[in-house]
Symmetry: C2
């Protein structure tokens, strides 16, 4: 049951040597989700060995070109390759007319269905759900309407310790109670009762894993709360601390602001990207983040971050 992030593009407004613009793919339990579609996304997917045909849905943060201009070529390729299954696209409502215009000039009626799901969300809300995981969108704080996304496993059913079934002679009903994570309470004929605590009878098979994507955004009060406890946080860090004024002016984050969000959220690991092309020393981005949050990693294109089960 994998949960793996592949960074496809780590540059910001314009590509840099070896860096394409924002795009990532997250694989959750065998399903592939594309998050943002900077130019060259299909080339990077090829290089990562991920067939575009495998992409389940696309999540667009906002309609700035460096997060979007790869979507046209990507969709056209899917169409030409004969994809049959619809593609769901989630993003701000102003993405709707862009997709409509694209289709009016570059689409063939024989191609698959593009299902656009416009978001109008003020706080974290589930937009996609399966038996084992769900995806939420939440608003970010950028110059235009922008959304972040959280991918998280659902709380699992509890496991029952086999030896306790025999020891206490647990009934099927009682086993169901343990699986829901509850204590078993046995009523006796004399009116008394006995509590068999969940902690003795069962255990949680794994902690649900989660990933949050925050790009592009300036810091905002609720951000850390909304991504609280994620195992992996991708946060844009367009500027080093020296350019904090520039970051504020353009509604972006600095290294220190990204790291502060990870710290306050209690994230497991921070991955940064979306580096301004004016700063070439990527090691500096990473070291600045680590001064606040040691588990910080400055992404390069095609870097893979796996979240193992624990």
């Amino acid at each position: 049951m994998n949960f793996t992030l592949t960074v496809l593009g780590s540059a910001s407004a314009k590509p840099a040597p070896g860096r394409f613009q924002s795009a990532q793919v997250l694989c959750v339990h065998g399903r592939f989700f594309l998050i943002d579609c900077g130019e060259g996304v299909q080339t990077r997917l090829q290089e990562a060995g991920i067939s575009p045909m495998k992409i389940d849905s696309i999540f667009v943060s906002h309609i700035h070109g460096d997060h979007l201009f790869g979507i046209f070529g990507f969709l056209s390729t899917l169409g030409m390759q004969g994809r049959a299954a619809p593609v769901n696209i989630y993003g701000p409502s102003n993405l709707g007319p862009i997709l409509k215009f694209y289709k009016s000039y570059f689409w063939d009626d024989s191609f698959f269905e593009i299902k656009f799901n416009p978001l109008n969300i003020k706080e974290p809300e589930v937009i996609y759900s399966t038996k084992s995981f769900e995806i939420l969108a939440f608003p970010l704080n950028h110059r235009i309407e922008t959304y972040g996304y959280i991918f998280r496993e659902k709380e699992p059913m509890m496991n029952v310790r086999k030896e306790k079934i025999d020891e206490y002679g647990l009934s099927l009903t009682e086993i169901g109670t343990v699986k829901r994570g509850e204590d078993v309470i046995r009523e006796h004929a004399d009116g008394g009762s006995e509590t068999l605590p969940f902690a003795e009878l069962g255990y949680k098979p794994f902690e649900p894993r989660s990933f949050a994507y925050c790009s592009d955004t300036a810091p905002f009060p609720k951000e850390a709360e909304w991504v609280r406890g994620v195992d992996l946080l991708y946060h844009e860090a367009t500027y080093t601390n020296e350019y904090a004024d520039q970051a504020a002016k353009r509604y972006h984050s600095t290294t220190l602001q990204a790291a502060q969000c990870a710290l306050e959220a209690g994230a497991g690991k921070l991955v940064i990207g979306h580096y301004s092309s004016r700063i070439r020393d990527i090691a500096l981005f990473q070291s600045e983040c680590r001064s606040i949050f040691p588990e910080s990693y400055a992404a390069n294109d095609l870097d893979v971050f796996d979240i193992p089960r624990h």
Copy 2:
């Protein structure tokens, strides 16, 4: 006075490993012209060491995505970099609404002016002219309205052999005559005349150089005539000969058709590209062309073809 082609993308409908989609840049006498704008064009320009700010004008063959989807990111980057000079774009008239839509969503009023020049051309016509060279457009034979382009130096003024000025005592008027490439005719007082042949008095300092771009197109009767005598012919060869049926159906050319055009046109050199992703053996494209036209070269991304003066 350079005349140099750099191939930026040699793939066709979708990118292939190491190959981006159609884009080229031609440098003529220090001016840079972008011909088609497949996705990733600005990345390839960086890799070729050509600043996007240097691009004088853009020539779009047709509005299929693999020739166009890089134009949005390219123009946005120019805008963000503070380009002041207008950019002229030439292409079929259906490119107009696409550029208009792009600007309505992704353009800043402070950016430079995009001057779109819609083409409506039935046979070769000059669309751009300087003192020393000119650019022509001509229709190709594709599924939608598509144009090829010819870039050619103008005929130079003739040079006068210095020793002949003294030997014949040439007057300023007679020197002007030689520079126009004409014989000098001297009328004598007795009614007779004397002809001093141009071939003795002057010479052509260089042969004008030329480049033609033919993509995408199926063969058509006038094609070789329209590109007659070019030093360098870029011609799409989407398919090897085995796939001639597919080529005809999709209004593309095979290797042999591209080579036949070069042969009939008397081109100096043929460069091919726009390879179908289904055929991975690029050497086969080249060898098939060479069976008809030995001076054939199968382009890779970032290949440079210089046309020296002769």
